[in-house]
Amino acid sequence: MSHIATDVLVVGAGGAGMYAAIAAARAGAERVLLADKSLVGRGGATVMAQMTVAAALGEECPDEWTAHLEDTLASGRGLCDEALAAILCRDAPARIREMGEWRVGWARRADGRIAQVTAPGHSRPRCCYVDFLNTGPAVAATLRRRVANIAAIRRVSNLNVTDIVTSPGTADGTADGTADGEAIGAVALDVAAGEPVTIAAGAVVIATGGLSRIFARNSASANMGGDGYALALAAGAELVDMEFVQFFPIGHLAPRLVGMDPIMWDPFRYKLGGRLLDGNGREFLADYGSDERDGYTTPRDLATYAIHQEVAAGRGSPHGGVYLSFAHLPAAALADAFGPVIERLARNGIDLGRMAVEVAPIAHYHMGGIAVDERMASRVPGLYAAGEAVGGANGANRLSGNAIPEALVFGERAGRFAAAHAAARADRADRALGWPRGAGAEAVARIRRLAEGRPGAAQPAALLEELRALMWRDVGPFRTAAGLARAAARLAELRALLPDLEIAPGRAFNPTLVDWFELRASLAAAAAVTHAARHRSESRGAHQREDFPDTDPAWARRQHVHLAPDGTFAASPAR
């Protein structure tokens, strides 16, 4: 069996993971292992991001990070972890300017200033981008180049981390019996070989992104099934704000669009405004208190709500969304704003000068995640988180443009503090090179057992489909006590099926083996979302309860959950 020893293990190689690896190496870690279940730097959300990046650079008009923070807190509907939000806004300008120095190619004005536009929820032009629709791909490519030039970073693709390994309880185990061990490494599935790998690490950073893939309608890449939340829970960490899933209001719905991300319309809304129309061609946002007289200003939670209400009232478009139209604009304005994208749209049969497209809400981002302190440390010693995997900074509703800064800023801190933890544990790391007897044995045995293949009552791939449909229907943009209870019950049944699912024979690149681990993780993440959504008996930001439509001031608090010894969720004391 392969065994790898490293100072810092980074799980997930999107924007946050790649930056965490860079920062760990910069902080002196001599061995950094950057592992991804997909290909390093190609998967995750960063590479998909076609929109903008918020940072108080003040290129267009005076700006301060404190103003960015004010907007972030307002958008978060009173729920942001203010310490994390402040770090995000304070450090974003340095990270964004650094990306510019690394030649990401921010769009610039004729005089050389970085161009910044006003995205919804921002009090001034603060959001930079790479034209056209290239922000995320350019950020990912820039980080891939940096990572490739750092000798201390070892990249491994198709390495699917299945379990964080903790030391068997600390000497001063707590009185309530939780006795969290310290993170000492991980067990992973080497997908290409179909074999387990053990990884001894001085510290572990979870940078696996969010969970939007657990919803049938999503803007996710394949590896956004909530892996990191499941890993953190099983290791003894807490999750926070799990009920707050951001549904992006104007995901592309029809006509079928190929070769483009479904969230692609937003940058053009920034540039051109555009009109949202119901099925009869009538503008409706004003009915919900957002007239857009001053341009594209409607926050995501309100737009999602308005579109849902229009569709529910029978005023939707043919495919069950609403229309987005730029047809009122002159052809020259469209050509200027869309550039080469006009051609890509034409290949999909879309002529914006003549027609509207259909759009509808899709799962896009997770505000919730692993509970961390200002060092990005979870409550499990040695276990850190970065990027979207972190919960709390964005409260009940993320402000546009805060996701990539979060990846870079939190990645930088997680990598730096994880390296420091690993250095302080140098004695332990040396012992870990030998890998304590029996460490991770159960996880290794599970991979070996499943990789043998076996007949079963159902297929993991089919249950993943069911899970996504269930979550969309019952735990999606609008929730009720009955729907949430139904989801919780079915999730428990699906979880009970895990030991009896079919695995195809053949070890090498066995997709059913990967499906099984994804299903296990997605079920845990889905259960955490459902649990938190059931408890929050109010509507706030992205969490909308049809049976509790109002915001309740008594609920202006975050919910932390962890796994109890019997495998159920337990609420941590309010704080």
């Binding site: 392969s2 997909s38 998967g43 491994v156 290409a192 079928r256 489909e465 079919e502 066995n510 997709p511």
Partner: protein
């Protein structure tokens, strides 16, 4: 009139075994992609079909590169056809791992 269907011939197997071609019939909708059809097959017909994909429809990850009717292309941006069968094969010139999956990782990015 029956609903339109797409017919796919997919090369299966590993480097060690004799290749075989499996045939699948997939419900066809205008505008669908080859990757849409492969995901439908995995969820509803044969989950053991190995494919590589990540970004699904953004054409940014390049993982779903394969030979489609003999021409190397991305499954996520190639439109499905219902008027003639389509043949899908792994990327030529790369080591075959399983079905449509080839070794795309640079040697440095492997466990060993």
């Amino acid at each position: 009139m029956s609903a339109p269907m797409a017919h796919l011939r997919i090369r299966r197997g590993s480097a060690a075994a004799m290749p075989r071609y499996d045939e699948f019939v997939v419900p066809f909708e205008d505008g669908q992609t080859v990757l849409d059809a492969l995901l439908w097959i995995r969820a509803r017909r044969d989950p053991s079909l190995a494919i590589r994909y990540s970004c699904i429809n953004g054409n940014v990850c390049k993982e779903c590169t394969m030979a489609i009717d003999g021409v190397v292309n991305y499954a996520c941006i190639t439109r499905l056809r219902s008027d003639a069968p389509m043949t899908l094969e792994p990327l030529p010139g790369k080591r075959l791992l399983r079905d449509l999956v080839t070794e795309m990782r640079p040697p440095r990015e492997r466990v060993r």
